[in-house]
Amino acid sequence: MAERPEDLNLPNAVITRIIKEALPDGVNVSKEARRAISQAASVFVLYATSCANSFAMKAKRKTLNAGDVMSAMEEMEFERFLPPLRDALEAYKKGQKGKKEASEQKKKDKEKKNGTEEHDKSREEEEEEEEHMEEEDGENEGEEEDVEN
């Protein structure tokens, strides 16, 4: 792993903001409590990943998908998260679709301008990632992060 250890922290400012927005006005949070919540959140990610991954492995898939994470939430007894997560996923997918269409449109515009396709080969790699984003069933060839193992 190339990351420095401190990169594994979730950003303090974001954690603090999430906490503050969840609690009523006038409530404060001690530094130690904030730190503990931040640690707990990181542990949550590790646990959720591990759980989700076992679903993927059971299905003989190498790529973790959103469905695996949903199953993991149930397994971890966080069913209450499922409705907001489903909504968020919908919104996310729409957003990604918009991006993809926009970048495809950009490509088309550029092709018109340049009149050549060669120019775009180098850009294709970048956009390649975004193009496959919605293909969530089974193997996802698109944007996977290849985790060194």
Binding site: A33, I37, S38, L46, S50, M133, E136, G142, V147
Partner: protein, 140 residues
């Protein structure tokens, strides 16, 4: 490390990872609180809906940076590949988790007639609430 309980297989590996990371100080150390500008520059990876895209701003859907979430996920040696959506959903779930644990801990602060959430309130919540059992023994 695999144990079988009631027919289901539990791998405890994430717990070992958590322990290693917590002990090494990689988790929960106080970073410089640069009030919001905390993400190292160079995080140009696909952060998904994290930033407004050139396609014209759709509002950010995840508060936590996807790149950081992904970095954490990669700590798991069993994980090969993760779709962008799965990273996003884990980020979102983590936000929900933070909200939940903060609210649950607040109950204990209020019982103690305090307006400041303290570490012990977290510990109480973790002990009392089933969903938080996975945290037992993992925090500093």
């Amino acid at each position: 490390m695999v144990s079988v309980l009631g027919g289901r297989i539990y791998t405890r590996r994430w717990r070992d990872m958590a322990a290693t990371l917590v002990e090494s100080g990689a988790l929960g150390d106080s970073e410089l609180d640069r009030s919001g500008a905390e993400e190292p520059r160079g995080e140009g990876e696909e952060d998904g809906a994290q930033h407004t895209s050139p396609a014209g701003g759709h509002s950010r859907l995840a508060k936590l940076p996807l790149s950081r979430i992904k970095a954490l996920m990669k700590a798991d040696p069993d994980l090969s590949l993760a779709s962008q959506e799965s990273v996003f959903i884990i980020a979102k779930a983590t936000e929900l988790f933070v909200e939940m644990i903060a609210k649950d801990a607040l109950v204990y602060a209020q019982q103690g007639k305090r307006k400041t959430l303290q570490r012990k309130d977290l510990d109480n919540a973790i002990e009392a609430i089933d969903e938080f059992a996975f945290l037992e023994g993992t925090l500093d």
